[in-house]
Symmetry: C2
Subunit: 203 residues, 2 copies
């Protein structure tokens, strides 16, 4: 399988990695197929041997993003297998940190940059898998009486949506300075999360 090659033998992957780097450095607006090709050391039309169009490259980068998000989520949650409450908090914070540390990847994953996401099975699968991990944690919390009884998937959408919304607004600079002057993003997130937890003095 590995033999003589034109350039590296795995240009497809090299293009994805180049794309991720450009995205991190120049943002969504700076991501062009031609730059990606140049960074990978090939001509501007070489990517078309591996991706039918720019959207497909974006789908591949997004898929990579979901895999990384899954890994970070899982790593944050796993240590607390018998403490669902801490799983919830650790997972939530891992999600928020991923978003804040990989703003532009987070953006192409969730902000309509990818136009027909349903056309990319790997993307759909990687995002589905991530959601399932959230559902797992939610279910464990329900079993432990930490979260209210309800269809676990529905509650998971609510929890995920809460985190996603807050961090999206934060990244977009939409959170009022009246709030940011007094609370860190961490405090905002945990305040919202605690509100969902049963047995909370305020709930």
């Amino acid at each position: 399988m590995a033999s003589k090659k034109y350039h590296h033998g795995d240009l497809k992957n090299a293009l994805i990695q180049a794309g991720i780097k450009i995205l991190a450095k120049e943002g969504v607006g700076g991501l062009s197929l031609r730059k990606v090709a140049k960074k990978a050391g090939v001509s501007h039309s070489a990517p078309y041997a591996h991706f039918p169009d720019k959207q497909s490259l974006i789908a591949a980068i997004s898929t990579e993003g979901f895999k990384q998000l899954y890994a970070e989520l899982d790593a944050a949650v796993s240590p607390y297998a018998n403490d669902p409450r801490r799983q919830l908090e650790a997972g939530a914070w891992a999600y928020v940190q991923f978003a804040m540390n990989n703003t532009d990847t987070f953006n192409i994953m969730f902000s309509g940059v990818l136009e027909k996401e349903k056309d990319y099975p790997a993307f759909v699968e990687s995002s589905r898998k991530t959601f399932e991990r959230v559902v797992d944690v939610v279910r464990a919390c329900q079993d432990a009486g930490v979260l209210r009884p309800a269809p676990a998937e529905l509650l998971a959408v609510s929890v995920w949506g809460q985190l996603h919304g807050i961090v999206s607004l934060a990244l977009e600079g939409q959170i009022s300075h009246v709030v940011l002057d007094r609370f860190s993003v961490r405090e905002i997130v945990f305040s919202a999360l605690n509100q969902m937890v049963l047995g909370n003095p305020l709930s």
Copy 2:
């Protein structure tokens, strides 16, 4: 002030309106300054007499979006001046509907398309004003014992974030079909919202 003009006398506004239409018809990816100029019936460089660059046009369209959102929010909420609980629900649903009926405007308002939002005072002001309206409703709910005591702005971020997150995930096609097969977006939103309300049997 109104006198003879080259084209309409208010090209600036005509460009914004043309932009909104193109956005609605072709999405963020289809929005170009040259198309906007063409639609307004001027040369491709005419817009530069009114906007320093494309980002400024986007800022103006986003500002327009916030004004519309504010108006719809206010119209939905005002009828229930003495029923904070219904204000909260009506306002929430108005927000979600705005997002779903104006997907692409919503996108440029909130999805990182506008890169240095802080540089556009009109944008910042229109978004601040909208947030203030949310805070008003939250405060009324707190006074009526519908929402828990907490700094109103903090709680408003939580409520807004919850709605924003759910509708963003929904627009992005990220809500599992396991959920969507059983619940409408309206049910998902209200389920999450009710969870925040005091005196709820489930809270």
